[in-house]
């Protein structure tokens, strides 16, 4: 597998991994914000969106980042300043830790972790702590209410998310994301391997549950009760300004990108093309050019999935708190449990 002509020392590899991680998190975040939040939302609402900075407003994001960076770093007088300043870092950190296990090509991964998807779900849940203490440390009743709502919602929707993934893990027989990609691209549908076996077909129920749970975990509308601007100002983010607000903002859209990466690995075949197309039989035979093509395929799939997330966000009105909780506990969790049982029975039967 190591076919590089030059040997990179360990510190060089680590540096490249860090840079790769920054690109894999920040590039999707920036693209999502410009393409979907600035432009698509504007077109859906019959307006142009930002047009002044750069051609078609494409440099608007850089202008915004510059604006946020030069703002004063304000903490409320009665706030718990240390915790207040730490909270957005916890949220952003959990996003960067998430991308570590996502494979982008046969050799283009950060780490080959045997319990990859389990790790992603565990690390994804750490951001709840950041949100909760952000709400508390702001010394603001709206913030505290927003933080508590966010925690309640994130706990409720983490369960269907984990349970939806179990179906995929049962079918692939592995928790390693690289193995899940290979299993999909070498799989066959009733003996026909022309498309591989992307799990969005066999695990469609799991896919839908996973995407709904992702929508809720990202607190995007219709699940944006925690930052409901008409009643809570801006929820746990109310007191934040300047670059700490920017961190929450990047965290929100970067996490959307990373969760879309994970969903495309789990359900859409990840970086791979069906191996049969090029006569590959296992991971070792995959050509080297897939290390370039793989990230592009992943990026395309990520854009498709985040398009769906944003489309839903701009289209549907907000759930009420009780509807939101009832939907998680009484609909999603029973359905995902049934999905696990059916998947396990079919796995043993075939």
């Amino acid at each position: 597998m190591y076919s590089l002509a030059i040997e990179i020392p360990y510190w060089g590899q680590s540096l490249l991994r860090v840079l790769g991680g920054l690109v894999a998190v920040l590039l999707p975040a920036g693209t999502i914000v410009y393409v979907f939040l600035f432009k698509m939302m504007s077109f859906m609402q019959s307006r142009l969106g930002p047009m002044e900075a750069g051609p078609y407003g494409s440099l608007q994001l850089i202008a915004e980042v510059g604006k946020w960076l030069q703002k004063e770093d304000i903490a409320p007088e009665k706030a718990d300043v240390r915790i207040f300043k730490m909270a957005p870092i916890i949220v952003l950190l959990s996003t960067f830790l998430l991308v570590v296990v996502v494979p982008f090509g046969p050799d283009a991964y950060f780490t080959d972790f045997s319990v990859g998807i389990f790790y992603a779900l565990a690390v994804g849940s750490v951001s709840v702590i950041g949100i909760l203490v952000a709400g508390w440390a702001s010394a603001n009743k709206y913030s505290l209410l927003g933080g508590l709502r966010a925690a309640g919602q994130l706990i409720a929707y983490e369960l269907p998310m984990v349970l939806a993934v179990v179906g995929v893990v049962i079918q692939a027989g592995s928790m390693n994301l690289q193995d899940i990609v290979v299993a999909q691209n070498t799989g066959q549908i009733f003996g026909w391997g022309g498309l591989g076996n992307p799990y969005v077909i066999t695990q469609f129920v799991g896919f839908v549950i996973f995407m709904i749970a992702v929508q809720a975990e990202l607190t995007q509308a219709p699940f944006d009760m925690p930052i409901a601007e008409s009643e809570l100002v801006s929820g746990y983010m109310t007191e934040y300004s300047g670059f700490r607000f920017l961190m929450f903002f990047i965290g929100e859209f970067a996490t959307a990108g990373v969760f879309a990466f994970i969903a495309s690995v789990l359900f859409l075949g990840g970086w791979g093309v069906p191996f049969g197309w090029f006569g590959w039989e296992s991971l070792d035979q995959v050509s080297n050019w897939m290390n370039i093509g793989g990230p592009l395929i992943m990026f395309t799939k990520m854009m498709v999935l985040t398009f769906i997330i944003m489309w839903v966000r701009f289209s549907y009105p907000r759930f009420r708190e009780d509807q939101l909780q009832r939907f998680a506990w009484k609909v999603l969790i029973p359905v995902s449990l049934a999905n696990i049982v059916v998947t396990a029975i079919l796995k043993v039967a075939f």
Binding site: V115, F118, A122, L132
Partner: protein, 179 residues
């Protein structure tokens, strides 16, 4: 070439990974400091956050020992669920910002002998079980082995624990129900 040289330097002759032991020491020191901060801090929420550091340190130690699945479970269950529930509970009831004066109750001194007793039992158990055995660097434990173990020879304890948890869940529902 370079990696193999550093690898040889870090791996002493009898298969002990020195870098791993250094890492263990650093993480252990952080954990001890965080654990002391949990009981000495004057704010409940700060105490809970220090506890998060301790539990994260435990997960890091599991990773160093090659127990990947246990480490991730530690993060998912203790940091992602138990600590969030702790913070949730604290914030719903009493969570003042700033120092709290009445955090200690009158019998806090009793905790010290109990903690020392626990330490003694754990140290004795570890020394009794391993003694002078040198544990070499074995690499991570495959998750498949763990699942084979608890769905095979340990199936009965696994089911028993599930039953206990089910009973606890039913009990919680009975207590919470109004009618």
């Amino acid at each position: 070439m370079t990696t193999s040289i550093t690898g040889a330097m870090l791996l002493a002759a009898d298969g002990i990974n020195i870098a791993m032991n250094v890492g263990f020491g650093i993480i252990a020191a952080i954990m001890v400091f965080a654990a002391l901060s949990v009981v000495t801090t004057r704010n409940v929420v700060h105490g809970a956050l220090w506890l998060v550091v301790v539990l994260g340190g435990v997960a890091a130690q599991y990773l160093l020992a090659g127990a990947e699945f246990v480490a991730i479970s530690q993060v998912l269950v203790y940091i992602g669920a138990v600590m969030v529930l702790f913070l949730f509970g604290i914030m719903l009831t009493r969570a003042k910002i700033g120092a709290d004066t009445d955090l200690n109750n009158s019998s806090w001194g009793l905790g010290i002998p109990v903690a020392l007793l626990m330490l003694g039992v754990l140290v004795w158990a570890v020394i009794d079980a391993f003694g002078d055995t040198v544990i070499t660097d074995r690499g991570p434990t495959p998750t498949v082995e763990i699942s084979d173990a608890f769905l095979g020879p340990y199936l009965l304890p696994f089911l028993a624990i599930s039953f206990v948890l089910l009973a606890a869940a039913v009990g919680a529902i009975v207590i919470a129900r109004k009618d």
